[in-house]
Amino acid sequence: MRESIIMKIHYGTALGAVALVAVHILMRMTQNFDQSLQYENVIANYHFLPYALMLEAVLILLSVHGFNGLRVILLELKQGSTYEKMINYGSIAAMAILIAYGSRTILMAGMGIS
Protein backbone atom coordinates (compact mmCIF):
# COMPACT_ATOMS: atom_id res chain seq x y z
CA MET A 1 0.00 0.00 0.00
CA ARG A 2 1.22 3.51 -0.72
CA GLU A 3 2.33 5.33 2.40
CA SER A 4 -0.08 8.19 1.66
CA ILE A 5 -3.03 5.80 1.79
CA ILE A 6 -1.83 4.26 5.05
CA MET A 7 -1.45 7.67 6.63
CA LYS A 8 -4.87 8.79 5.40
CA ILE A 9 -6.25 5.74 7.20
CA HIS A 10 -4.25 6.78 10.26
CA TYR A 11 -5.85 10.25 10.28
CA GLY A 12 -9.28 8.87 9.39
CA THR A 13 -9.32 6.33 12.20
CA ALA A 14 -8.22 9.05 14.62
CA LEU A 15 -11.04 11.36 13.55
CA GLY A 16 -13.60 8.57 13.77
CA ALA A 17 -12.41 7.63 17.22
CA VAL A 18 -12.62 11.15 18.66
CA ALA A 19 -16.42 11.16 18.84
CA LEU A 20 -16.83 7.50 19.71
CA VAL A 21 -14.30 7.46 22.57
CA ALA A 22 -15.96 10.59 23.95
CA VAL A 23 -19.31 8.77 23.98
CA HIS A 24 -17.69 5.74 25.60
CA ILE A 25 -16.08 7.73 28.41
CA LEU A 26 -19.13 9.93 28.93
CA MET A 27 -21.23 6.77 29.31
CA ARG A 28 -19.42 6.44 32.66
CA MET A 29 -20.75 9.85 33.64
CA THR A 30 -24.42 9.20 32.80
CA GLN A 31 -24.67 7.40 36.09
CA ASN A 32 -22.56 7.09 39.17
CA PHE A 33 -19.09 6.02 38.02
CA ASP A 34 -18.89 2.96 40.30
CA GLN A 35 -22.37 1.89 39.31
CA SER A 36 -21.51 2.13 35.65
CA LEU A 37 -18.93 -0.58 36.18
CA GLN A 38 -21.30 -2.98 37.95
CA TYR A 39 -21.59 -6.33 36.23
CA GLU A 40 -25.29 -6.01 35.47
CA ASN A 41 -24.90 -2.58 33.93
CA VAL A 42 -21.95 -3.59 31.81
CA ILE A 43 -23.78 -6.66 30.56
CA ALA A 44 -26.75 -4.44 29.77
CA ASN A 45 -24.42 -2.21 27.78
CA TYR A 46 -23.14 -5.14 25.76
CA HIS A 47 -26.71 -6.31 25.14
CA PHE A 48 -27.66 -2.89 23.78
CA LEU A 49 -26.88 -3.46 20.12
CA PRO A 50 -26.12 0.12 18.97
CA TYR A 51 -23.68 0.58 21.84
CA ALA A 52 -22.11 -2.84 21.23
CA LEU A 53 -21.64 -1.89 17.58
CA MET A 54 -20.07 1.35 18.69
CA LEU A 55 -17.64 -0.55 20.93
CA GLU A 56 -16.76 -2.75 17.97
CA ALA A 57 -16.14 0.34 15.87
CA VAL A 58 -13.91 1.88 18.53
CA LEU A 59 -12.05 -1.40 18.80
CA ILE A 60 -11.36 -1.60 15.08
CA LEU A 61 -10.51 2.08 14.62
CA LEU A 62 -8.12 2.24 17.54
CA SER A 63 -6.41 -1.08 16.91
CA VAL A 64 -5.63 0.08 13.39
CA HIS A 65 -4.61 3.58 14.51
CA GLY A 66 -2.59 2.45 17.51
CA PHE A 67 -0.64 -0.32 15.80
CA ASN A 68 -0.01 1.80 12.74
CA GLY A 69 1.36 4.46 15.10
CA LEU A 70 3.64 1.85 16.62
CA ARG A 71 4.66 0.73 13.13
CA VAL A 72 5.66 4.30 12.25
CA ILE A 73 7.79 4.62 15.38
CA LEU A 74 9.49 1.27 14.77
CA LEU A 75 10.18 2.04 11.09
CA GLU A 76 11.93 5.21 12.16
CA LEU A 77 14.05 3.46 14.77
CA LYS A 78 15.74 0.91 12.55
CA GLN A 79 16.00 0.25 8.83
CA GLY A 80 16.59 -2.76 6.62
CA SER A 81 14.29 -4.62 4.28
CA THR A 82 13.82 -7.75 6.41
CA TYR A 83 13.20 -5.70 9.53
CA GLU A 84 10.76 -3.40 7.76
CA LYS A 85 8.82 -6.31 6.28
CA MET A 86 8.59 -7.87 9.72
CA ILE A 87 7.28 -4.62 11.21
CA ASN A 88 4.73 -4.12 8.42
CA TYR A 89 3.29 -7.63 8.60
CA GLY A 90 3.73 -7.81 12.37
CA SER A 91 1.58 -4.75 12.92
CA ILE A 92 -1.17 -6.10 10.65
CA ALA A 93 -1.09 -9.33 12.64
CA ALA A 94 -1.23 -7.43 15.94
CA MET A 95 -4.23 -5.42 14.75
CA ALA A 96 -6.00 -8.61 13.69
CA ILE A 97 -5.31 -10.39 16.97
CA LEU A 98 -6.48 -7.48 19.14
CA ILE A 99 -9.62 -6.99 17.05
CA ALA A 100 -10.39 -10.72 17.16
CA TYR A 101 -9.89 -10.94 20.91
CA GLY A 102 -11.98 -7.83 21.63
CA SER A 103 -14.72 -8.93 19.23
CA ARG A 104 -14.92 -12.24 21.03
CA THR A 105 -15.81 -10.37 24.24
CA ILE A 106 -18.36 -8.16 22.52
CA LEU A 107 -19.94 -11.13 20.74
CA MET A 108 -20.06 -13.43 23.74
CA ALA A 109 -21.19 -10.80 26.22
CA GLY A 110 -23.66 -9.42 23.70
CA MET A 111 -25.27 -12.74 22.92
CA GLY A 112 -25.52 -13.62 26.57
CA ILE A 113 -23.27 -16.67 26.40
CA SER A 114 -21.54 -15.73 29.60
Partner: protein, 259 residues
Protein backbone atom coordinates in the same frame (compact mmCIF):
# COMPACT_ATOMS: atom_id res chain seq x y z
CA UNK B 1 43.01 17.93 29.39
CA UNK B 2 45.53 20.73 29.77
CA UNK B 3 44.38 24.16 28.70
CA UNK B 4 46.51 25.51 25.87
CA UNK B 5 47.17 29.25 25.68
CA UNK B 6 49.07 31.20 23.08
CA UNK B 7 52.43 32.48 24.32
CA UNK B 8 51.96 35.73 22.49
CA UNK B 9 48.23 36.34 21.96
CA UNK B 10 47.83 37.41 18.38
CA UNK B 11 45.34 40.22 18.19
CA UNK B 12 45.14 40.93 14.49
CA UNK B 13 42.96 37.97 13.62
CA UNK B 14 39.97 38.86 15.72
CA UNK B 15 40.08 42.59 16.01
CA UNK B 16 39.00 44.77 13.18
CA UNK B 17 39.82 48.07 14.84
CA UNK B 18 41.20 49.00 18.21
CA UNK B 19 38.05 50.93 19.14
CA UNK B 20 36.88 48.59 21.83
CA UNK B 21 38.97 48.35 24.94
CA UNK B 22 36.91 45.50 26.26
CA UNK B 23 38.59 42.15 25.63
CA UNK B 24 37.63 38.92 27.38
CA UNK B 25 38.81 35.40 27.15
CA UNK B 26 36.70 32.30 26.77
CA UNK B 27 37.43 28.62 26.96
CA UNK B 28 36.80 26.95 23.65
CA UNK B 29 36.34 23.20 23.82
CA UNK B 30 36.74 21.51 20.48
CA UNK B 31 35.65 17.93 19.88
CA UNK B 32 38.51 16.08 18.18
CA UNK B 33 37.99 12.77 16.48
CA UNK B 34 38.98 10.72 13.47
CA UNK B 35 36.52 7.84 13.23
CA UNK B 36 38.02 6.39 10.06
CA UNK B 37 41.25 5.83 11.99
CA UNK B 38 39.31 4.51 14.95
CA UNK B 39 40.12 7.57 17.04
CA UNK B 40 37.39 8.26 19.62
CA UNK B 41 36.20 11.75 20.46
CA UNK B 42 38.28 13.76 22.90
CA UNK B 43 37.81 17.38 23.89
CA UNK B 44 40.69 19.83 23.58
CA UNK B 45 40.43 23.07 25.55
CA UNK B 46 41.84 26.39 24.43
CA UNK B 47 41.86 29.87 25.94
CA UNK B 48 40.80 32.33 23.27
CA UNK B 49 40.68 36.12 23.58
CA UNK B 50 37.43 37.54 22.18
CA UNK B 51 35.77 40.86 21.45
CA UNK B 52 32.06 41.42 21.48
CA UNK B 53 31.84 40.87 17.71
CA UNK B 54 34.00 37.72 17.62
CA UNK B 55 32.18 34.82 16.03
CA UNK B 56 32.58 31.19 17.04
CA UNK B 57 34.23 30.56 13.67
CA UNK B 58 36.77 33.31 14.32
CA UNK B 59 37.52 31.79 17.72
CA UNK B 60 38.15 28.43 16.07
CA UNK B 61 40.34 30.02 13.43
CA UNK B 62 42.30 31.75 16.21
CA UNK B 63 43.01 28.33 17.65
CA UNK B 64 43.97 27.01 14.24
CA UNK B 65 46.36 29.89 13.61
CA UNK B 66 47.93 30.18 17.05
CA UNK B 67 47.40 27.09 19.13
CA UNK B 68 46.75 23.98 17.10
CA UNK B 69 47.01 23.96 13.32
CA UNK B 70 45.52 20.47 13.04
CA UNK B 71 41.93 21.31 14.00
CA UNK B 72 39.75 20.26 11.06
CA UNK B 73 36.93 22.68 10.25
CA UNK B 74 35.13 23.49 7.01
CA UNK B 75 34.27 27.09 6.18
CA UNK B 76 34.36 29.45 3.28
CA UNK B 77 32.23 32.60 3.13
CA UNK B 78 32.27 33.64 6.82
CA UNK B 79 28.92 35.35 6.21
CA UNK B 80 26.19 32.70 6.40
CA UNK B 81 26.06 32.24 2.64
CA UNK B 82 27.95 29.10 1.75
CA UNK B 83 26.53 26.67 4.30
CA UNK B 84 29.88 25.11 5.18
CA UNK B 85 30.38 25.86 8.85
CA UNK B 86 27.41 24.12 10.50
CA UNK B 87 28.32 22.54 13.82
CA UNK B 88 26.93 21.90 17.26
CA UNK B 89 27.62 24.88 19.49
CA UNK B 90 26.90 24.18 23.15
CA UNK B 91 24.64 21.33 22.14
CA UNK B 92 22.60 23.02 19.39
CA UNK B 93 23.27 23.09 15.65
CA UNK B 94 24.23 26.55 14.35
CA UNK B 95 26.48 28.22 11.80
CA UNK B 96 29.80 29.03 13.48
CA UNK B 97 30.22 32.16 11.35
CA UNK B 98 26.74 33.40 12.23
CA UNK B 99 26.96 32.86 15.99
CA UNK B 100 28.70 35.50 18.05
CA UNK B 101 30.54 34.38 21.15
CA UNK B 102 28.80 37.18 23.04
CA UNK B 103 25.37 35.74 22.16
CA UNK B 104 26.21 32.61 24.10
CA UNK B 105 25.71 33.28 27.74
CA UNK B 106 28.68 31.24 28.82
CA UNK B 107 32.42 31.54 29.15
CA UNK B 108 32.85 27.98 28.02
CA UNK B 109 31.89 27.16 24.46
CA UNK B 110 31.87 23.60 23.27
CA UNK B 111 31.91 22.96 19.54
CA UNK B 112 31.17 19.51 18.16
CA UNK B 113 30.46 18.10 14.70
CA UNK B 114 26.79 18.20 13.62
CA UNK B 115 24.79 15.11 14.46
CA UNK B 116 23.25 12.83 11.85
CA UNK B 117 26.17 13.37 9.46
CA UNK B 118 29.20 11.06 9.34
CA UNK B 119 32.29 12.70 10.84
CA UNK B 120 35.24 13.14 8.51
CA UNK B 121 37.52 14.60 11.17
CA UNK B 122 36.96 16.90 14.14
CA UNK B 123 34.30 19.42 13.08
CA UNK B 124 34.14 18.51 9.40
CA UNK B 125 31.27 16.24 8.41
CA UNK B 126 30.29 14.36 5.26
CA UNK B 127 27.42 15.79 3.17
CA UNK B 128 26.98 12.89 0.73
CA UNK B 129 23.58 11.86 2.05
CA UNK B 130 22.22 15.40 2.13
CA UNK B 131 23.39 16.03 -1.42
CA UNK B 132 22.01 12.79 -2.76
CA UNK B 133 18.64 13.31 -1.04
CA UNK B 134 18.54 16.84 -2.41
CA UNK B 135 19.14 15.52 -5.93
CA UNK B 136 16.45 12.87 -5.49
CA UNK B 137 13.67 15.43 -5.36
CA UNK B 138 14.73 16.92 -8.73
CA UNK B 139 15.84 20.37 -7.63
CA UNK B 140 15.29 22.12 -10.95
CA UNK B 141 12.40 23.56 -12.92
CA UNK B 142 10.69 20.83 -14.89
CA UNK B 143 9.03 22.38 -17.93
CA UNK B 144 9.05 21.28 -21.56
CA UNK B 145 8.90 24.88 -22.70
CA UNK B 146 11.86 26.09 -20.69
CA UNK B 147 14.24 26.16 -23.68
CA UNK B 148 14.70 29.64 -25.02
CA UNK B 149 13.99 29.78 -28.75
CA UNK B 150 13.57 32.78 -31.06
CA UNK B 151 9.77 32.34 -30.80
CA UNK B 152 9.53 31.82 -27.04
CA UNK B 153 8.26 34.58 -24.81
CA UNK B 154 9.65 35.33 -21.40
CA UNK B 155 7.89 33.69 -18.51
CA UNK B 156 6.30 36.41 -16.44
CA UNK B 157 6.13 35.91 -12.72
CA UNK B 158 4.37 38.42 -10.51
CA UNK B 159 5.83 39.38 -7.11
CA UNK B 160 3.03 37.29 -5.62
CA UNK B 161 4.06 34.22 -7.62
CA UNK B 162 7.62 34.80 -6.47
CA UNK B 163 6.65 35.07 -2.81
CA UNK B 164 5.18 31.56 -2.90
CA UNK B 165 8.62 29.98 -3.10
CA UNK B 166 11.18 32.73 -2.52
CA UNK B 167 11.93 32.01 1.13
CA UNK B 168 12.48 28.33 0.41
CA UNK B 169 15.00 29.17 -2.28
CA UNK B 170 17.13 30.88 0.39
CA UNK B 171 18.32 27.43 1.54
CA UNK B 172 22.13 27.25 1.68
CA UNK B 173 22.26 23.46 2.24
CA UNK B 174 23.99 23.86 5.57
CA UNK B 175 22.27 20.78 6.98
CA UNK B 176 21.44 22.29 10.37
CA UNK B 177 17.80 21.28 9.92
CA UNK B 178 18.73 17.67 9.24
CA UNK B 179 20.88 17.56 12.34
CA UNK B 180 18.10 18.95 14.59
CA UNK B 181 15.36 16.71 13.16
CA UNK B 182 14.12 13.99 15.56
CA UNK B 183 13.33 11.56 12.74
CA UNK B 184 16.77 12.05 11.20
CA UNK B 185 18.26 11.07 14.59
CA UNK B 186 17.40 7.42 14.00
CA UNK B 187 16.04 7.04 10.45
CA UNK B 188 18.91 6.47 8.03
CA UNK B 189 16.61 6.41 4.98
CA UNK B 190 14.58 9.56 5.69
CA UNK B 191 14.84 12.27 3.02
CA UNK B 192 15.11 14.93 5.72
CA UNK B 193 13.74 18.46 6.09
CA UNK B 194 16.26 19.99 3.70
CA UNK B 195 15.25 17.79 0.75
CA UNK B 196 11.53 17.87 1.52
CA UNK B 197 11.54 21.67 1.79
CA UNK B 198 13.27 21.89 -1.58
CA UNK B 199 10.66 19.60 -3.11
CA UNK B 200 8.09 22.19 -2.08
CA UNK B 201 10.25 25.06 -3.34
CA UNK B 202 9.91 23.69 -6.90
CA UNK B 203 6.31 22.50 -6.59
CA UNK B 204 5.27 26.01 -5.49
CA UNK B 205 7.02 27.64 -8.47
CA UNK B 206 4.46 28.36 -11.18
CA UNK B 207 7.04 27.82 -13.92
CA UNK B 208 7.38 24.22 -12.79
CA UNK B 209 5.36 21.29 -14.11
CA UNK B 210 6.92 18.51 -12.03
CA UNK B 211 4.46 18.42 -9.15
CA UNK B 212 3.09 14.91 -9.71
CA UNK B 213 6.57 13.52 -10.21
CA UNK B 214 7.89 15.01 -6.98
CA UNK B 215 4.84 14.06 -4.91
CA UNK B 216 5.46 10.48 -5.97
CA UNK B 217 9.12 10.67 -4.94
CA UNK B 218 8.33 11.84 -1.41
CA UNK B 219 5.38 9.45 -0.93
CA UNK B 220 7.10 6.40 0.53
CA UNK B 221 7.75 4.85 3.92
CA UNK B 222 10.79 7.07 4.53
CA UNK B 223 9.44 10.13 2.78
CA UNK B 224 7.29 13.05 3.80
CA UNK B 225 5.08 11.03 6.19
CA UNK B 226 7.97 10.59 8.59
CA UNK B 227 7.76 14.30 9.40
CA UNK B 228 5.77 14.85 12.61
CA UNK B 229 5.88 18.63 12.58
CA UNK B 230 8.15 18.87 15.63
CA UNK B 231 9.46 22.13 14.13
CA UNK B 232 13.07 21.63 15.26
CA UNK B 233 14.32 22.20 11.70
CA UNK B 234 12.72 25.64 11.54
CA UNK B 235 14.01 26.36 15.02
CA UNK B 236 17.64 26.12 13.86
CA UNK B 237 17.47 27.22 10.21
CA UNK B 238 19.73 30.29 9.89
CA UNK B 239 18.12 31.61 6.67
CA UNK B 240 14.43 31.79 7.56
CA UNK B 241 13.64 29.00 5.12
CA UNK B 242 11.20 27.47 7.62
CA UNK B 243 11.42 23.92 6.27
CA UNK B 244 8.64 22.76 8.61
CA UNK B 245 6.20 25.10 6.86
CA UNK B 246 7.30 23.92 3.42
CA UNK B 247 6.82 20.28 4.38
CA UNK B 248 3.32 20.81 5.78
CA UNK B 249 2.30 22.82 2.71
CA UNK B 250 3.64 20.05 0.48
CA UNK B 251 1.74 17.45 2.49
CA UNK B 252 -1.32 19.70 2.15
CA UNK B 253 -1.33 18.83 -1.57
CA UNK B 254 -1.23 15.14 -0.76
CA UNK B 255 -4.06 15.35 1.78
CA UNK B 256 -6.17 17.44 -0.57
CA UNK B 257 -6.15 20.64 1.52
CA UNK B 258 -4.12 22.55 -1.09
CA UNK B 259 -4.70 22.72 -4.78
Amino acid sequence: MAVVTAQKPSEELITIGKTSTQSDAITLRIARSNPAEGQETTYAEFKVPVKKWTTVLEAILYVKQNLDHAVAVRYSCRQASCGSCGMKINGKPALACYTKVSEIKSNVITVEPMNNFPIIRDLAVDFKQLTSNHKKIKPFIINEESEVTPESKEFIQTPKDLEKFLQFSYCIKCGLCNSACPTMATDTSFIGPQGLAQAYRYVADNRDKGKEERLKIVDNSHGIWRCHFAGSCSHVCPKGVDPAMAIQLLRGYMLGFQK
